[in-house]
């Protein structure tokens, strides 16, 4: 079962006295990630527990500690990368930017790069990642019943969303509360009844869309935002 020790050292790291649970494992995992199977990372450390800790961690992570030599209070360790690969659905997309409108950004400009490609039906499973983001395969599936473009798509959704956000009425701010005077009891009762009715409408505007939002696939973010408004 013993394979020869690799000499293909492709990365180096000085761990100084950093302990395995103090961030060293994060650094080691990051340095091993871009290597291919069989390539190695050479690491030096002054921390006496690190060689054993790394050997144990390698077993769990699917890598192989092929050498650990201690000399003058320092250890020299070689870790060979294992066969486990990242399984990204697509490579990440870099350099895509949405234009600014003055100091802000606008939903009407969102559709750029891979995110602009809208499938007739959003995929099953695949995490909560937004449209166009590369996801790791094998993630648990989350069921969304609203996945079809024909069920959810509206061309003017960005327009409606921007209108809704810019003209949203806020009772706490928009009512001239100082100017309100006392009312006749009859009118007061009527106003109260109307306010109850309005509150019910506001609640309906919250609860009814909320029941749909949970069903909308993450690849339709604009529709989700619009419902939220």
């Amino acid at each position: 079962m013993t394979r020869p020790i690799t000499t293909k050292i492709k990365a180096h790291y000085d761990g100084e006295d950093l302990g395995a649970s103090e961030g060293l494992l994060v650094a080691v995992a990051r340095l091993l990630d871009p290597l291919v199977e069989g390539e190695a990372l050479e690491l030096t450390t002054e921390n006496p527990s690190v060689a054993d800790d790394l050997r144990i961690w390698c077993r769990r992570a699917g890598h192989r500690l092929v050498r650990a030599v201690q000399e003058n209070g320092k250890s020299n360790i070689i870790i060979e990368r294992g066969f486990v690969r990242r399984m990204l659905s697509d490579p990440p997309e870099w350099g895509v930017r949405i234009p600014r409108r003055g100091d802000s950004v606008d939903m009407r400009d969102w559709q750029v790069g891979r995110s602009a490609i809208i499938a007739d039906e959003a995929p099953r499973g695949g995490s909560l990642a937004p449209r166009g983001a590369p996801v790791e395969e094998g993630a648990p599936e989350i069921e969304f019943s609203i996945r079809k473009r024909t069920d959810i798509w509206a061309n003017s959704i960005s327009e409606l969303y921007e209108q809704a956000t810019s003209s949203q009425w806020v009772g706490a701010r928009d009512i001239p509360w100082r100017e309100l005077g006392p009312l006749d009891e009859e009118v007061e009762r009527s106003v109260c009844q109307i306010m109850t009715f309005l509150a019910e409408n506001e609640y309906a505007a919250l609860y009814v869309p909320a029941r749909f939002i949970g069903q909308i696939h993450p690849h339709s973010p604009k529709q989700r935002c619009f419902f939220r408004r």
Binding site: G19, A20, S21, E22, G23, L25, S49, D52, D53, R55, I56, W57, R59, R60, A61, G62, G82, F83, V84, R85, M87, E137, G138, P140
Partner: protein, 263 residues
């Protein structure tokens, strides 16, 4: 086959593997047991054909059948398993010899990795548990052979909180704790790792015909961690690939069970 229900995730693991094996050809169904002793008895009585056993359950099966059983396959992580002796930094323990006179926290009595084998290997370092150590045992989850990790968590807590100066856990538990940054390295560190040994395996009696288990094992060995459908199952069961069984790594547990008078 039989498996012990030490955690709710046992159901999706074996449901998934059953689905895979059905598609791959040989098929399989599983039965869950609440403890390894019942599973070993069910294997010997012929109620199940194959048992997913801990090392202690394998040794028991072997002893009860006078060796008329064998291991079929195991996880990559079952080979080169070891126990880790952790110590408090302020306990003045710098070598295994310094453990003399100290309190050692151990997991459940029936845990090969968190109790039986650490004591066996310490004895070979000239530490006699009865004479040299004050043992603090965490007897949690009876019959699960330390699978749940509950007693190992208790061991680490006891060392971190100063109830014990040293403790023994299995190396996967220590690796997970390091990865999750659950170890306060100002207080606790690894002192020593035992020689390696084997952990779980699929055990069958010699009376099971080769034609019934061979395709089954071959299909199992083909599971691929770089396959998106297999990965979640393998992750839950804690392996990257299945290996054909190797049994030389059980020798130390056979000796330990004998030495410690474990039934």
């Amino acid at each position: 086959m039989g498996a012990v229900a030490y955690d709710p995730k046992v159901v999706p693991i074996w449901d998934g593997i059953r689905g895979y094996l059905k598609e791959a050809g040989p098929g399989m169904d599983y039965v869950l047991f609440s403890n390894y002793e019942a599973q070993v008895d069910a294997l010997i009585s012929g109620f199940i054909d194959i048992a997913w056993n801990t090392n202690l359950a394998y040794v028991r099966t072997h002893r009860k059948t006078h060796g008329r059983c064998h291991a079929l396959a195991m996880r990559d992580t079952d080979v080169d398993y070891c126990s880790v002796i952790v110590v408090r930094n302020d306990a003045g323990i710098n070598s295994v010899a310094d453990l003399r006179g100290k309190t050692l926290a151990l997991g459940r009595r029936d845990s090969g990795h968190a109790a039986i084998l650490p004591l066996y290997f310490l004895k070979r370092q000239d530490i006699d548990p009865a004479r040299d150590l004050n043992l603090m045992r965490f007897d949690l989850d009876v019959g699960k052979h330390g699978d749940t990790g509950a007693s190992e968590a208790a061991v680490l807590n006891a060392v971190a909180s100063g109830q014990a100066e040293a403790g023994a856990v299995g190396d996967p538990f220590w690796a997970k704790a390091l990865e999750e940054r659950a170890i306060d390295s100002d207080k606790v560190r690894l002192l020593w790792t035992t020689p390696t040994y084997h952990h779980c395996n699929f055990t069958a009696l010699d009376s099971l015909e080769e034609s019934r288990y061979k395709p089954w094992v071959e299909a199992l060995l083909k599971m691929d961690y770089n396959n998106a459908e297999h990965r979640p199952l393998l992750d839950m069961e804690g392996l990257k690939r299945w290996l054909p069984a190797q049994t030389e790594g059980y020798r130390t547990l056979f000796e330990a069970v004998e030495e410690q008078g474990i039934e």
